[in-house]
């Protein structure tokens, strides 16, 4: 009889407060398309009954989502869904930030937050095929779509081969365009490893999230068409705003 998974019960004394769990459920509901844009949420008393909690607890959840800009509450009328669906970020052989989100947003770009040259850690050295401790250029970037942050990444490049890529990145706002300046006309995604965790303090600040949010984490290596690694990166995506669509599989 049920086509979707139904699991309305809520875990008590779990280390995650009831209002945060309910807020998560409502976000899921919206992302799953249970509410059209501008649709009214069920009234607070109904939600309280559904989740088996007090009305005030539901109100805490709602007020957190109002803070996040997901809902709008109007006294006497109801509570309404503001947010659009999650962005669907494609990951495949030719993963490109801007091209991937084309059609879903009117505007998108990458901001260079910081850059530095540092000795390659073990995993960076492995990913780039460098000697451990060799110079690696690190770029800290944030991806934005329609003014909302949708990704936060650290990327490493061979500092010798790509000297000055930080300036190129700041100027062009595009990894693809920056690499082109170094003679890289095309590159491919060689590997992607995916995990998820709670957002840490840095994620919260960089991605404009509320504490307790979940981030998807990808660790990836990009290579030239002939297989030489050029970029190693770790990216974080806010799970409440982004889903990853694995394509070209």
């Amino acid at each position: 009889m049920i086509g979707q998974q139904v699991a309305d019960s809520i875990e008590r004394r779990s280390g995650v407060s009831l209002w945060r769990q309910i807020a998560d459920r409502i976000l899921q509901s919206i992302a799953a398309g249970d509410f059209i844009e501008n649709a009214a949420l069920p009234p607070e008393v109904a939600l309280a009954e559904r989740y088996g909690v007090n009305r005030h607890t539901v109100r805490s959840a709602i007020s957190a989502l109002v803070q996040e800009g997901v809902l709008r509450a109007e006294q006497g009328r109801g509570t309404f869904v503001l947010s659009r669906k999650r962005l669907s970020y494609p990951i495949g052989a030719r993963t490109r930030f801007s091209a991937g989100l084309q059609g879903q947003t009117s505007e998108r770009h990458i901001v260079l937050l910081a850059s530095s040259i540092e000795p390659a850690s073990q995993r960076v050295a492995e990913g780039l095929g460098l000697a451990r401790g060799a110079g690696a250029m690190r770029l800290e970037t944030r991806g934005e779509a329609d003014g909302r942050p949708v990704s936060r990444a650290a990327s490493w490049f061979d500092a010798r081969r790509f000297a000055g890529i930080d300036a190129a990145m700041a100027e062009t706002g595009s990894i693809t365009a920056s690499l082109a300046r170094f003679g890289i006309d095309d590159y491919l995604r060689q590997s992607t490893v995916l995990s998820a965790r709670h957002a840490d303090a840095a994620d919260l600040a960089d991605l404009d999230l509320q504490p307790g949010a979940i981030v998807l984490v990808t660790v990836a290596v990009n290579v030239t068409p002939d297989g030489r690694p050029i970029q190693f990166s770790e990216s974080r995506f806010p799970a409440e705003r982004v889903e990853l669509k694995l394509s070209a599989l």
Copy 2:
């Protein structure tokens, strides 16, 4: 100077308790390989100082992880890491449960928990290319590796074409083998959409998780080599035990 992301601060009044956040950090640390198997965790006072909390709060985090079987505490000696690294579950054109985990575990299989025939919901109908409301056979399964649950899935098939696949699944413990009985010698992963959320009550029970845990969610369609959809599925993976490795990209 730092090769890895460092973010030790903890968020207060976030809806996620400090002990749960610290437990998450320790799990990340272990998964990232900061501790070798059987290595001692830093003493409680040191951890309390690092995270800026009281020793008792650290103890709450540790005791949760002891409950989960990740740590072992010994009075007078220290607290030790038990758990192995996360399993790496490959997702690609030929995603197969057992073959994918080969080499990482000595034993793995799929258990059929339940099955039923139901009218296809909208998303199932879309995924399988059926009319909405047409008969869909649903299989509820759990993947286990070395006796630990590593995945929990609901799969839907065209009930007419695959009548009896539930019995085949119960008998063989393999999707691939069951499909072979219906003349499907090969099948490909057409699409995979990935997201993450907090585990709900059903996940907690089915995957043997502690409340507050995170699950990775994939929604996928498998097709025959000539492109006809045969299986629509939603799978949940415990993020603390599994990472997804996107291959053949």
